[in-house]
C-alpha cells in the first residue's frame, strides 16, 4: 500500500484556485520533492495531506489517503491520530511555529503524550532524546529553553525533533530551510538525509529551491499554477527535463561554480560613496544582557554598485542594513547618506500591514511624496506590481491572501515605488522560486543600469549574491571577516569561515551533492 495517494486534489480559496486536479503517490521510505514557483500551490497541497484546510475558508475536493487514512472522510479523532503520529509536518516558517510561552522540550513532550500514553517524565525524556537526535547541543538543558532563546536554525531543528517524536511513517517538510543561511541549511538537509536512512520514513519535501531538492529526494514533482507539470526520479528530471517549464526553471538556477556572472558595468561614478558607514557599532540591551550585534564595521556603497553581504544567522546583517537606511541609530560610529534610501525587509510577515491592502502599502511612498493624483498612483502601483511578477488587479488584496514569496515581491515593489538611490535588500529573494528570483534580480539589474541604483544585497544564498554583486562582504559575529570583489572572494576565500560557507552550498547534481556532504562532514569535524 502506498504511503500517500492523492487523486484529483483541487483546493480553492474563494475565487482563487490554488491547486487543480493534482494526483501523485509516495511509497513508504521514499522521498518526494515538490518544487515550483512561488504561489504555485505547494504549501496548500502539503496542508491537504494532513487535512489542515478543515474549518478554514478553503474548499477541498478529490481524494487524499495518507498512511491508510482517508483524510477527507475521517472524523476528528481519526484525523488527530494521523496527525503527528503517522505523518508529521515541519512548517515553512520556523520563527513563529513554536509557542513562545512554553519550553521547547515541553512542547515536544506535549505532542508525544497526545499519541502515546506515557507519564509526563517519560515524555520529557523522549523530548530530550529527539532534541539530541537533531543535534541540539546539551539537549537536556536546552529542552527547558523557550523558543526565543533558540536561533533560527535551532528552532528549525526543534520542529524536526517534534516531528520525529512519534516516529511517523511520513515527514512533510515545507520549505524547512528557507530562512536559514547555507551552513545551517546544509546541516538540516544532512540531518533529514540521515534520519531517513536510520528510520526509513517517507519524506515530502516542499521547496522552491531546486538545489535543495536535488540533494535530498528520490522523486520530484514540479508544480506550476496549481498543476503538476512534470514528475519523475530526481536525477532524470534534473538531467533531462521533459517540459519547457522545468527546463526554464533549471536554467534560471544561479550557480556558484558556473560561468562568472555576465560582465557587469562598473560603478557609475567612482566619487563619493552614496552611503557610508564608519566604524559603526550596535549594542542591544544593557550590561550583562548586552549583545554586540554589529561590532565596528566600516564600508561604503557607490552609485550603481551592488554590495553583497553574506554571513551566518545572527551575524548582524539585518542590523547593519537597518543602520545604513537610518532605521536604527548606531550606538557608536556614524553613517553618512547622500541620497534616498529604501529597504526590503527580511520578514515578509511583519513587513506588510495586515490591515491594509498591498496596493495601499506599495502606494505609500507615492502618496507621501504627494506629487501624483489618485488615478496616477493606482496606475503606477499596477506597473510596479507587474514588474515584480504580480498582477495589477491584486491592488485590493490583503497580505494574508498571498504566499510567502508573493509577499516578498510586494515588499520589493514598495521599495521601488519610492524611486530610491539605494535599496537594502534583506533576504529579498530568499522565498522566491528561481524563475521569479531571476526575474526580480534582472529587474534590479536593469534599474541599476538605467538609473544608477545602488544595492546592498543581504542573502544567505551565495549563488544569488555572486550573480548580482560587484563586491561581497562576509560577516560573522558582528564583524566583517572578509571583503572584496565578488570573483576574488569566491575563487580564493581567505577566511576559514568563508570557505566553510562555500562548501555548504547545495549542488544541483545529486552525485555532487553526496560528495559535498562528506566534505562538509570533514569540515565540521575538523
Amino acid at each position: 500500500m502506498s504511503l500517500i495517494e492523492v487523486k484529483d486534489l483541487s483546493i480553492s480559496f474563494g475565487a482563487v484556485r490554488a491547486v487543480r486536479n493534482l494526483s501523485f503517490s509516495l511509497e513508504p521510505g521514499r522521498a518526494l520533492g515538490i518544487v515550483g514557483e512561488s504561489g504555485s500551490g505547494k504549501s496548500a497541497s502539503a496542508y491537504a495531506l494532513l487535512g489542515l484546510h478543515r474549518g478554514t475558508g478553503a474548499e477541498v475536493s478529490g481524494s487524499v489517503r495518507v498512511a491508510g487514512v482517508d483524510v477527507r472522510e475521517a472524523d476528528d479523532a481519526e484525523l488527530r491520530s494521523l496527525r503527528g503520529a503517522k505523518a508529521a509536518m515541519v512548517f515553512q516558517d520556523p520563527l513563529s511555529s513554536l509557542d513562545p510561552y512554553y519550553a521547547v522540550g515541553d512542547q515536544i513532550a506535549q505532542v508525544y503524550r497526545v499519541h502515546r500514553r506515557v507519564s509526563r517524565r517519560a515524555a520529557r525524556a523522549r523530548a530530550v532524546e529527539v532534541l539530541d537526535r537533531v543535534r541540539i547541543p546539551d539537549a537536556a538543558r536546552r529542552a527547558r529553553s523557550r523558543p526565543h532563546e533558540f536561533s533560527g536554525g535551532m528552532r528549525q531543528r526543534a520542529l524536526i525533533a517534534m516531528a520525529l517524536a512519534c516516529e511517523p511513517q511520513l515527514l512533510i517538510a515545507d520549505e524547512p530551510t528557507t530562512a536559514l543561511d547555507v551552513t545551517v541549511q546544509a546541516q538540516i538537509l544532512d540531518l533529514l538525509h540521515q534520519l531517513r536512512q536510520e528510520t526509513g520514513m517517507g519524506l515530502v519535501l516542499v521547496t522552491h529551491d531546486v538545489g535543495v531538492a536535488a540533494e535530498s529526494v528520490d522523486d520530484v514533482l514540479v508544480m506550476r499554477a496549481g498543476r503538476a507539470v512534470e514528475r519523475g526520479p530526481v536525477g532524470a528530471v534534473l538531467a533531462a527535463p521533459a517540459e519547457s517549464y522545468t527546463r526554464a526553471l533549471l536554467a534560471a538556477v544561479p550557480r556558484i561554480d558556473g560561468a562568472a556572472a555576465p560582465a557587469r558595468p562598473g560603478p557609475a561614478d567612482a566619487g563619493e560613496p552614496l552611503v557610508e558607514a564608519v566604524d559603526v557599532h550596535q549594542v542591544f540591551g544593557r550590561r550583562s544582557a548586552a549583545t554586540k550585534a554589529v561590532d565596528g564595521v566600516t564600508l561604503g556603497v557607490r552609485r550603481g554598485e551592488t554590495l553583497g553581504i553574506v554571513g551566518e544567522s545572527g551575524s548582524g546583517k539585518t542590523t547593519l542594513g537597518r543602520m545604513l537606511v537610518g532605521l536604527l541609530e548606531p550606538s557608536a560610529g556614524r553613517v553618512v547618506r547622500r541620497g534616498r534610501v529604501q529597504m526590503v525587509f527580511q520578514d515578509p510577515h511583519s513587513s506588510l500591514n495586515p490591515r491594509r491592502s498591498i496596493g495601499e502599502s506599495v502606494a505609500d511612498p507615492l502618496r507621501a511624496a504627494g506629487r501624483l493624483d489618485e488615478g496616477a498612483i493606482r496606475a503606477r502601483v499596477g506597473e510596479l506590481l507587474a514588474q515584480v511578477g504580480l498582477e495589477a488587479d491584486q491592488y485590493d488584496r490583503y497580505p494574508h491572501e498571498f504566499s510567502g514569496g508573493q509577499r516578498q515581491r510586494v515588499g520589493i515593489a514598495r521599495a521601488l515605488a519610492a524611486d530610491p538611490d539605494l535599496i537594502v535588500c534583506d533576504e529579498a529573494v530568499s522565498a522566491l522560486d528561481v524563475t521569479t528570483q531571476a526575474q526580480v534580480t534582472e529587474l534590479l539589474g536593469r534599474l541599476q543600469r538605467e538609473l544608477g541604483l545602488a544595492l546592498v544585497f543581504i542573502a544567505h544564498d551565495l549563488a544569488v549574491v555572486r550573480q548580482v554583486s560587484d563586491r561581497v562582504a562576509v560577516m560573522r559575529a558582528g564583524r566583517v571577516v572578509e571583503e572584496g570583489p565578488v570573483d576574488e572572494v569566491y575563487a580564493r576565500p581567505q577566511d576559514p569561515y568563508t570557505r566553510q560557507l562555500l562548501a555548504a552550498v547545495p549542488a544541483l547534481d545529486p552525485g555532487q551533492a553526496a560528495r559535498r556532504r562528506s566534505l562538509r562532514a570533514e569540515l565540521t569535524t575538523v
Binding site: R54, A248, L327, N353, S361, D364, P365, A368
Partner: protein, 345 residues
C-alpha cells in the same frame, strides 16, 4: 534569459489560466470594511437596534407629544399615597395615556422619562466614552512612541489618574465650574477625565508591540511624518482592541453616571437619566417592578447591541478575521462543508 522566461511564462495560455490562481476576486463594490460589515447579519441587527435607540432619544419630544405626556408633570392622583406611592393599576399603572405606566411617588410618566432619559444617558455615556478613547489613545500613543522619559512620565500620570477617586474630582469640578454650566456636559467631561487610563494602557502596550514591526519601519522609510505613520500603521491596528474596550466602557459610563447620581453629584433633576432611574428604583423591585425593569432592560439591550456591533466592527476592520473566526471552531468537516455548499446552491 530570465527576462525571456518571464515573458514566455506570462504569454502562454497555461499561464493565463494560472493567473486565475492568484487573481483577486472581482473588485468589490464599496469599501471593503463596509462590505465585510454588511456581511455580518448580527452586526446589522445590532446596528439597527443602536440606531433605533438613538432615534428614540432624538425623537423624544415627538414621541412624548404623540403619547400626550411630558417627563416632568406630577400625577399625584395616579399613585396610592397611603402605601408609599405605588402606581395605581396593574403593570405600574400602564394605560393608554401612560404607555409604560408612571413613576412611583410622583406619578410622572415613565415612557416620557425613559425616552428623555435615553437622551441624557446615551449622550453622556457617548461623550464620556469618546473623550476617554481620545485621551487614552493620544496618551497611550505618546507613551508608546515617546522616549523612555516621556513613557515613564505618562505612565505615572496614568497611575495617578487611576488612583484618583472620582468623587473627589467630581466634587472639585462641581465647585469650580459655574452653576449655569450644562450638567450633562460636565458629568461627561468628569467621567472622561478620570476614565481614560485603561484605554491608554492598552494602547501603549499595543503600540510598543507594533512599533517594532517592519511595516511601521517601512512606512517611516516611505517618507511619512511621525503622525502620519501613527495614523496609517498604528491606529488601524489599535482600532480592534480599542473598540472592544470602548464597547465595554460605554455601559460602564452609564453606570458611573448612575453612581454619581447615587452619591449626589450627578445629573440634576428633574432631568431624567437611566442611571438615575436605576439608582432611584433599586428599592422598588417588589412594589413596582416595572420601574426598575424598564431602564434595566433598555440598558441591557443597549449593551448587548453595542457589544455585538462592536464585535462586528472589530472583525470587519480586520481583513484576516474571516479565516480567523473559523479557525477557532475548526471542527467542521471538509466534506460537510461541500455538502452544505451544494445544499445551499
Amino acid at each position: 534569459m530570465a527576462e525571456a522566461l518571464f515573458t514566455e511564462v506570462t504569454a502562454s495560455g497555461d499561464a493565463a489560466e494560472g493567473a486565475g490562481a492568484v487573481a483577486a476576486a472581482p473588485a468589490p463594490g464599496g469599501r471593503p470594511f463596509w462590505r465585510r460589515l454588511r456581511a455580518r447579519r448580527s452586526a446589522l441587527v445590532a446596528g439597527g437596534v443602536v440606531a433605533f435607540l438613538v432615534l428614540i432619544a432624538l425623537a423624544a419630544p415627538l414621541l412624548t407629544a404623540v403619547e400626550g405626556q411630558d417627563p416632568t408633570t406630577y400625577h399625584p392622583d395616579l399613585v396610592d399615597s397611603a402605601t408609599g406611592g405605588v402606581p395605581l393599576g396593574s403593570f405600574g399603572g400602564a394605560s393608554a395615556d401612560h404607555w409604560l405606566g408612571v413613576e412611583p411617588l410622583t406619578g410622572r410618566d415613565l415612557f416620557a422619562r425613559v425616552v428623555y432619559g435615553a437622551r441624557v444617558s446615551l449622550g453622556v455615556a457617548l461623550a464620556a466614552t469618546v473623550l476617554q478613547v481620545l485621551l487614552g489613545v493620544a496618551i497611550g500613543l505618546a507613551a508608546g512612541l515617546g522616549n523612555r522619559f516621556v513613557d515613564q512620565a505618562l505612565s505615572r500620570v496614568t497611575d495617578v489618574v487611576v488612583a484618583l477617586p472620582v468623587m473627589v474630582v467630581a466634587l472639585g469640578a462641581l465647585a469650580v465650574v459655574p452653576a449655569g454650566f450644562p450638567r450633562p456636559v460636565l458629568i461627561a467631561v468628569i467621567i472622561g477625565l478620570v476614565g481614560w487610563a485603561g484605554t491608554s494602557k492598552i494602547v501603549r502596550a499595543q503600540t510598543l508591540a507594533l512599533k517594532s514591526l517592519d511595516h511601521v519601519a517601512a512606512a517611516r522609510l516611505s517618507g511619512w511624518g511621525r503622525w502620519q505613520v501613527a495614523r496609517r500603521e498604528l491606529l488601524p491596528a489599535l482600532a480592534a482592541p480599542v473598540i472592544t474596550y470602548a464597547v465595554l466602557l460605554f455601559p460602564g459610563n452609564i453606570v458611573v453616571e448612575a453612581a454619581l447620581s447615587f452619591l449626589g453629584v450627578g445629573i440634576k433633576p428633574p432631568t431624567p437619566s437611566w442611571g438615575q432611574m436605576l439608582s432611584d428604583a433599586d428599592t422598588w423591585y417588589q412594589a413596582a417592578p416595572t420601574y426598575l425593569l424598564i431602564p434595566a432592560l433598555l440598558l441591557f439591550v443597549t449593551v448587548l447591541a453595542l457589544t455585538v456591533l462592536g464585535e462586528g466592527v472589530r472583525t470587519a476592520l480586520d481583513p484576516r478575521a474571516e479565516s480567523r473566526l473559523r479557525v477557532g471552531t475548526g471542527r467542521k468537516q471538509e466534506t460537510r462543508h461541500d455538502a452544505e455548499k451544494e445544499a445551499g446552491a
